[in-house]
C-alpha cells in the first residue's frame, strides 16, 4: 500500500495504522502530532486508525520559531 508521509511517497504493509506510519519515519512518540488527509488524529487513535491507499500523512513537531 502506498501513502505519502511528510511529502515522501512510502510503501507500508496493507492494513497499516497511523502508528505504523509514525514508526516508518523514525519519529518519537512524544512531542509530535499527526494529521491524515488534513484532519488531526488524536494519539489514542494511532494504533486503531487504519490508513487508506494514497493517504496523506503529516507528522509534525515543535521547532525553533518566533
Amino acid at each position: 500500500m502506498h501513502v505519502t508521509i511528510n511529502g515522501e511517497r512510502r510503501e507500508l504493509a496493507s492494513g497499516a495504522t497511523v502508528d505504523d506510519a509514525v514508526t516508518a519515519i523514525g519519529a518519537p512518540r512524544s512531542g509530535v502530532a499527526v494529521a491524515v488527509d488534513g484532519e488531526v488524529v488524536p494519539r489514542a487513535d494511532w494504533v486503531r486508525l487504519r490508513l487508506s491507499e494514497d493517504a496523506e500523512i503529516e507528522v509534525l513537531t515543535a521547532v525553533q520559531g518566533g
Binding site: R43, A62, G66
Partner: protein, 251 residues
Amino acid sequence: MDLVIGDHKIGSRLVMGTGGAANLEILERALVASGTTLTTVAMRRIDAAAGTGVLDLLRKLGIAVLPNTAGCRTAAEAVLTARLAREALGTELVKLEVVADERTLLPDPIELLDAAEQLVDDGFTVLPYTNDDPVLARKLEHAGCAAVMPLGSPIGTGLGIRNPHNIEMIVEAAGVPVVLDAGIGTASEAAQAMELGCDAVLLATAVTRAADPERMARAMRLAVEAGYAARHAGRIPRRYWAHASSPDREQ
C-alpha cells in the same frame, strides 16, 4: 502584579521567541539570560535527525511553550496547525499568526479574525499577532481572544514601534493584556513598549540574531522591567518651558 493571560499566570513580562538562534546552546544561554517563562515555537514536519531538540531544552529549563502558526496564510491552515500543536504539546495556548505575504509578513486581518473565532470556539486560549490597528484589536478581543499582540513594525525588521499612538490607543481600549509583538530592535524600544502601557513584549530576532544574544537577552529583560516600572511610577507631564528643580537664589 502578575501578568495573567486566559487562565495562565505568566511569570515574566518578556516573552522570548526561539526563532533565529544559530544553535540550541546559544538559544539556551539567551533564554536563561532573558528570564522568560514562556517562549514560542513553530510547528513543522519532523526531521528524524533533529528530533524534538527544542522541546527537550524547554522542558529542561522549565519554560512553558507557546506554539505559533507561523507560515500560515489562511484561517484553515492556521486552525489545523493550532490543533496539531495542541495535540503535540498538550497546551491550548496558541500564538495565532496568519500572514498575507512573505515580503511584509503583515497579518491578513480577515483570515486572522476568522481563525481567531474558530479557535476560541474550539477552546483555545488565543493570542493573535495583529496589525497595530485599534479597530482590529477590538474585534479580536470581542471574538474572545485572551490577549492582543500588535506589531511595532514588521517581523524581523528591528524598526521599533512605528506608530506609538496606535499602540497607546490599543492599550487604552483593551480589556485583555496587550503584548507588543514584532519589530523590536534594541532595548530602548522594549522599554518604550512598556512605557506605552503594554503588558508584555514578545521578541525573538532582536536577541537571537544580535552579535551577543546572551547579552542582548539580559538587556531586554532589564528594559522590560524598567519600562514597566516607569509606566507605573507615573511620569512627569511634558512642559513647554524649563522648570527649575533647584530653589531660587533669593530665597
